[in-house]
Symmetry: C2
Subunit: 496 residues, 2 copies
């Protein structure tokens, strides 16, 4: 699969491609971000929209400029007596999208007497520090860091405590998923005076440097297919060679374009590479969104989509052409579940709610996550992690150089045991669990595993098809949060 | 005393005065900084000097420039087996000066098998990010913040662990006094993965916003004089009125200039204000350096200098002139202990080892410490804390505006109970103890009080005249540090 894992983070590294980039690469760059959720009707999501003036630079005094950070408040279930505030640490996208799609918070609001706050991450959604110039150059992008985002959250909480009567003496709890989960955990680590605890769902805080093997992500993707049916992952592994063999001849290019019903026929080796990246991306996406019920991500998907996909990849000992015909049917599940499409379009887009530009910059600066494959422990073509190439590409695209070890310096890497009150939840099916905290570190730094969970399934709204494991996870999460709330009020009473 | 407390932090706020400023104002701005120490001969202070390339901006990626941070290493007593590293979090001055004058670390090195590291604070000593341009304008000063300094320390520790064989798996402990003590505490709070604990001596981490009453500092200064002899503080309080009454007439100006043996006669009301500031500064200095043995600060001083001073201020019911003649004798203790001076010079300087320029900028940005007096609870002329004036002056001098609440947002204010392993030591005589942590917060966030201690007496070298209370404090500090070291090695063994 060659450049896929690189593309995962590099999507926009080709100079000038920010706008011209084929949309499918946008999808790649969004992969590790959040997945969208099925809409739900049982709870009405009613919120008010607010803006707060934030310093563009919290860490220097030369730039006194400000920007408007957007945040949402839902206080239907909030109680001034004994209540709490669930504070969503927004990640790389439009905050309304996250608000509408983090059903868990809405589901538990009443039980926790909680106000819900959703804070938009700077440089995403409407919270653009320099308006149309925001992504213009490294100078304007200079203030897009996790540290600045955490400082925004701190100042916002301070502002809420000052301006909302009753909020001052209530416990705030950080909640986030994926990168937002990392932010929730880091926020509790760095600003424990601001939040009583943090729920960090599917937060790969160890997907940096050599804290985990660079191959773990794709290994889990592979496992997701293998556990459904061993031949499924084997067939996918074999498919790359089949593609390579067939496409050496121009007749093969034609045949494959037709066999896969591609909207745009393959013309050369570069197209073939793009095809392989696009197929790899499909498998990765499926691993992330392998939810137990119908849902929507890039496309509408059936329940347990990998099972459906693997039905087409059960047989072994196939010829190259037979295999690739089956691959077409498998891809069709993901890219044409509705059956409406007359061809498969390699340039289909992901949701525009996620901010690809911003994330591409972050991946090129702080969020340097090494990925690799070897084709043995995983079902992809071998790919070595190469920091030098990565760095050079980043410099070409953004004029910045990544600092791969900075996140570890800043947030402690594996050495986080002195912190308290963080829940790390991970689904076994989620490839990002490879970089997550999946064992208890202390009594108050706890890991919750959801054996049948894909990417932050626990943050999604309750669903009749939820497996028992995610129901247990959510109830454990609520139990911990209630404990933090009790502890907070107990220590408040002590002070009086 | 009017502007004194303002001058404490504002010393350089008059535009263009950076160089031309009368040296006595430099002394004022250095007041709350560290005091110098008597030299000691029992332990030879032998260290090597090193430099590390540090990013000028840890929190952004647009500026890839670096500077050389100086640091010192003394490893005579270091043991690779079971040893430790005491890491001095340098404050606002030349690191060699701090190294030579933090005898405590040298005294305990052998017992803790400790390597001593002294890290210079950026923008001080030789660690100037932009050489001669460092203090030129807000643009060059933009990277002078406590956050950047802490990040320097983190990167330096990482560097030491990587490059010194044996250091990687050893516990580092942060040690600092005054602002350096604040940095030590904050470093443990923000980077607990880097240091097993912190000794924060005389660290006024609560001298911000309204965390403590703005009058507490001068109240303690007053108490130091009052406890020696009640008339002493009363006489000082009366002296301002006496000066005001006398200097309304030009004959009074002449008389007072002669009575105080001033090198430069008083000419106008402005000179009188300067005189009062200079006298106030003297009392403040004495409170900070009221050590039990002869020592040197701005001048050579006797043991328990306030006792000596107050011998001249015992009598009550004096006329204005009699009182001011006594004030002269009292001032003479501080400014002319040697008896060599033929007149008192209001423009005498403090040590050049402290970086007044840098601190003045820091006081105008993050380190906004409100001070006030009312003339009732203290012996000074009333002075209101006025943020607006302060801010305007800062803008005039540095082109920046202070953010008085930022330090509290960043470091938690009084809400620090979730942190661990910090010793806050304070001397009861030290005016800075008013903004310090003087009660245990938890089992591992402990306060040590030194009833007979002035400004971080515990960090000074052992001395035959040390009171029992400081010996006890030091031994308690060592006890805690040994516990951290034991805990560190125990958790290391668990990991194996």
């Amino acid at each position: 699969m060659g450049r896929l894992v690189q593309l995962l983070l590099l999507a926009f590294l080709m100079p000038g491609l920010a706008i011209l980039l084929p949309p499918r690469l946008k999808a790649l760059s969004n992969l590790h971000l959040s997945t969208s959720f099925t809409s739900r009707s049982s709870i009405v999501m009613k919120y008010s929209i607010h803006y707060m003036e934030q310093k563009i630079d919290h860490f220097g005094f030369n730039n006194e400029k400000t920007f408007k950070q957007r945040y949402l408040i839902a206080d239907q279930h909030w109680r001034k007596e004994g209540g709490s505030v669930l504070f969503y640490t927004g990640n790389e996208g439009d905050i309304i999208w996250f608000c509408n799609n983090t059903g868990f918070m809405w589901d538990v609001a009443e039980e926790l007497k909680a106000m819900l706050v959703f804070a938009e991450h700077r440089y995403y959604g409407q919270s653009l520090p320099f308006g149309a110039d925001t992504f213009q150059d490294p100078k304007h992008l200079n203030f897009l860091t996790s540290e600045q985002a955490l400082a925004d959250f701190a100042e916002l909480i301070k502002h809420l405590k000052r301006t909302i009567p009753g909020a001052e003496n209530q416990p705030f709890i950080a909640v986030g998923g994926s990168y937002g989960g990392m932010l929730a955990a880091w926020f509790r680590m760095k600003y424990p005076h601001m939040v009583a605890g943090a729920l960090a769902a599917s937060a790969p805080i160890w997907q940096f440097e050599d804290l985990v093997p660079c191959g773990v992500f794709m290994k889990i993707v592979t496992m997701d297919f293998k556990r459904t049916c061993p031949n499924c992952s084997e067939n996918i592994r074999s498919s790359w060679g089949a593609i390579n063999r067939l496409t050496r001849k121009s007749t093969g290019l034609d045949w494959l374009s037709k066999a896969l019903h591609l909207c745009t026929p393959l013309k050369n080796a570069q197209d073939v590479q793009h095809l392989k990246d696009w197929i790899s991306e499909t498998w990765v996406n499926l691993a992330m969104v392998d939810y137990p019920y119908e849902s929507s991500f890039l496309q509408h998907l059936p329940a347990w989509p990998i099972k459906v996909v693997c039905q087409y990849l059960k047989n072994s000992n196939l010829s190259d052409k037979e295999l690739l015909q089956n691959i077409f049917h498998a891809l069709n599940v993901y890219h044409n579940y509705s059956g409406q499409a007359t061809c498969l379009n390699m340039s289909e887009t992901s949701t525009s709610s996620l901010g690809s530009l911003g994330w591409s910059y972050q991946a090129c600066t702080e969020m340097v996550m090494p990925f690799c494959t070897n084709g043995v422990d995983d079902m992809f073509e071998p790919f070595l992690w190469d920091l030098k190439t990565f760095s050079d590409d980043c410099f070409k695209q953004w004029g910045v150089k990544p600092r791969p070890s900075w996140i570890t310096s800043m947030y402690g890497g594996k050495d986080i045991s002195s912190h308290t009150n963080i829940i790390f939840s991970n689904g076994d099916l989620d490839p990002w669990s490879g970089g997550g905290v999946t064992r208890n570190i202390t009594d108050t730094l706890v890991a919750i595993i959801i054996p049948e969970g894909a990417h932050h399934l626990d943050l999604r709204a309750n669903n009749a098809f939820d497996p028992m494991t995610v129901l247990l996870a959510r109830s454990l999460e609520v139990k911990y949060m209630k404990q933090w709330i009790r502890d907070f009020y107990a220590s408040l009473r002590k002070k009086d």
